[in-house]
């Protein structure tokens, strides 16, 4: 059963310096994302990944086509959609001088709810940082904290925009574990990424975008079977990241 249905979605922007010429950042994309899936959107910079996500989140107007989340039309009922989604944005700066605990209380208040902040922080492994300020967290901790913020309303769908960009391998694997845990509990997760390994090991299905268009959409295995060049006779075993992890261990670094 699809939870997100996207049909011919489009977003156009004025060409810089031109008065009446447009270009399409997202150019007629159709997607069906099933309940309980981890769905990845891949693509080079400027392919339209973030714009697609922002349209689904109600951050950006939809210029063409339609999108529904859990049967609710995004364009006509954005506030209803916001109630059931959790969002982690690329930039995640917060108010100065506010502890994680207080920020979670604030975010819960924005949904008109009360939350058990300790439980949420425990979920993302930051319980000991409850009184810390976001500015004093490491990159991985910051990403985990913004996921905690996105969870205050127990969303049905969680959107993650490049969640592992800039993280060290330990933090990256830790974040993947967190995403899998949330997914095991039934949450649908949509993420964008540049990281092929992330797409391959984490996502059940992936869509590849380029120039605002969908280039391919399938499970990672099927995509490899269909599109990857012939494998070499004696494939290399593992890759350099496995070597790095074997040498430096899986323990989290702060």
């Amino acid at each position: 059963m699809p939870i997100i249905e996207v049909k011919d979605l489009a977003k156009k922007y004025l060409l810089p310096g031109k008065k009446s010429e447009f270009f399409y950042a997202v150019d007629g994309i159709s997607l069906r994302i099933e309940v309980g899936e981890i769905f990845g959107i891949l693509g080079p910079n400027g392919a339209g990944k973030t714009t697609t996500l922002e349209m689904l989140e109600g951050l950006t107007d939809i210029d063409g086509g339609s999108a529904t989340i859990d049967g609710i039309d995004v364009a006509s009922q954005p506030y209803k959609v916001k109630e059931i989604i959790g969002v982690q944005l690329q930039a995640n700066e917060y108010f100065d001088n506010v502890t994680l605990n207080e920020l979670l209380t604030l975010f819960a208040a924005l949904y008109n709810r009360e939350v058990d902040t300790s439980e949420l922080l425990g979920k993302v492994n930051l319980l000991d940082k409850a009184q810390a300020k976001p500015g004093n967290l490491s990159g991985g901790q910051q990403q985990r904290f913004s996921i905690a913020c996105a969870l205050v309303n127990s969303p049905k769908v969680l959107f993650l925009d490049e969640p592992t960009t800039g993280l060290d391998p330990q933090a990256k694997h830790n974040l993947w574990d967190l995403v899998r845990e949330l997914n095991d509990a039934g949450m649908t997760i949509v993420l964008t990424t540049h990281n092929m390994e992330e797409a391959e090991s984490l996502c059940e299905r992936i869509a590849i975008m380029d120039h605002g268009k969908l280039v391919a959409e399938d499970t990672p295995q099927n995509l490899i079977l269909k599109h990857a060049p012939e494998p070499p006779q004696a494939p290399m075993h593992g890759n350099i990241e496995d070597v790095f992890l074997a040498l430096t261990g899986h323990g989290l670094r702060d």
Partner: protein, 363 residues
């Protein structure tokens, strides 16, 4: 009335804003300095009149006379040659020069004294002439041994007249609340946008009206604390007098703060960068400093400007505050001003909720 959600949010924002103690404290610096300077520079005492005396007579009477004027605290006496003192008078170093003629002695009848004045200071003549005459009469009496028929004793009961500082305080409070409010909401919004916080808030279901109300309430709490500190300082340390009802005075502060916080929201929504909001903010703030009767009454301005000046939001607020603080006016007596405040209250809130569109503001 604010909803439960708005109050809850306001409480959280208040906690956040209160962390910024430095800026809360430093924004009080200017008004405190300003008031203190005025309190000491303008403490209600009249400066002594600078009087030059040219004594052309060598008689005892003449020197006694000079001495008596010298002892009078109203005069600051300098003796000297006529030509020197004339130059000083022209340069403004003396206010008046008194010339005692040669025949100024006990024997003469009708010696003529000459008073040279600076035309710019003529209005003080009315004050000085009786004093000079009074001094002359008492000298004459002394020499002729006449007992005065009446004596007048003046007792200083320290009745306070209104000082400029009393006039200034309500205006300065109104001006300060405008500055704090516009900075508090306008600059905050721009800062939140720069950090991407607005965008993050926008993906939650919070409505602009709830967000604006919460921020306005939280900011207002802080501004009320700041103004209370200033008022307590002015009343206790500088002995400024607020004649009217304190509750009415505070009601005006609350309404004024609301208006300018909302206008600050408008600025923050229009201007996209910190520089832009400063520039636009100054366009709003500067004319009101001069036109809204903060430092001197609107009635003293050119008649052409007055109708416009009277409609500015700060004019209504400062007028209401001044009427209450200086003249002890009741709310009923300032109804027209209150209508102006109410109108701006509605306009400011409508503009703020209209202009603060998440899609435009957050991106």
């Amino acid at each position: 009335m604010p909803t439960k959600l708005q109050l809850h949010l306001a409480k959280i924002f208040l906690k956040i804003f209160l962390r910024d103690r430095q800026s809360i404290f430093f924004s009080l610096f200017f008004p405190i300095i300003f008031m203190t300077v005025f309190a000491f520079a303008n403490n209600g005492e009249v400066d002594p009149i600078k009087l030059g005396i040219v004594n052309n007579s060598s008689s005892e009477v003449a020197s006694d006379f000079s001495q008596m004027l010298n002892d009078n605290p109203l005069f600051n006496v300098t003796g000297g040659e006529e030509s020197n003192l004339r130059t000083e008078l022209v340069d403004g170093d003396q206010t008046m020069v008194l010339i005692l003629p040669e025949n100024f002695d006990a024997q003469s009848d009708g010696a003529e004294l000459q008073l040279l004045v600076d035309a710019a200071q003529v209005q003080q003549l009315g004050l000085i002439m009786p004093l000079l005459e009074q001094t002359l009469i008492s000298i004459e009496r002394e020499f002729r041994n006449i007992e005065p028929m009446f004596t007048l004793t003046i007792e200083d009961v320290k009745a306070r007249s209104q000082r400029y500082l009393d006039f200034l305080l309500p205006g300065l409070m109104a001006f300060t609340l405008m500055q704090l409010s516009i900075a508090g909401s306008g600059f905050n919004i721009v800062e939140f946008r720069r950090k991407g916080i607005l965008k993050r808030l926008f993906v939650t279901p919070i409505k602009p009206r709830d967000f604006i109300t919460a921020i306005v309430l939280a900011r207002m709490a802080i501004i009320l604390i700041q103004l209370t500190v200033l008022i307590v300082f002015a009343v206790t340390i500088l002995d400024v007098r607020i004649v009217g009802n304190f509750a009415s005075f505070y009601l005006m502060i609350v309404l004024g703060t609301f208006i300018f916080l909302c206008l600050g929201f408008c600025l923050g929504s229009i201007a996209k960068t910190q520089q832009a909001v400063m520039a636009v903010g100054n366009i709003v703030i500067f004319p009101q400093i001069f036109l809204s009767g903060v430092f001197y009454p609107i009635e003293s301005m050119p008649e052409l400007v007055q109708p416009i000046a009277n409609l500015l939001p700060l004019s209504f607020v400062s007028t209401a505050m001044r009427e209450i603080a200086n003249n002890g006016a009741s709310l009923l007596e300032i109804t027209p001003t209150l209508i102006g405040i109410a109108a701006w209250f509605v306009i400011a809130f409508m503009l703020a909720t209209r202009l603060f569109v998440w899609k435009e503001v957050a991106n």
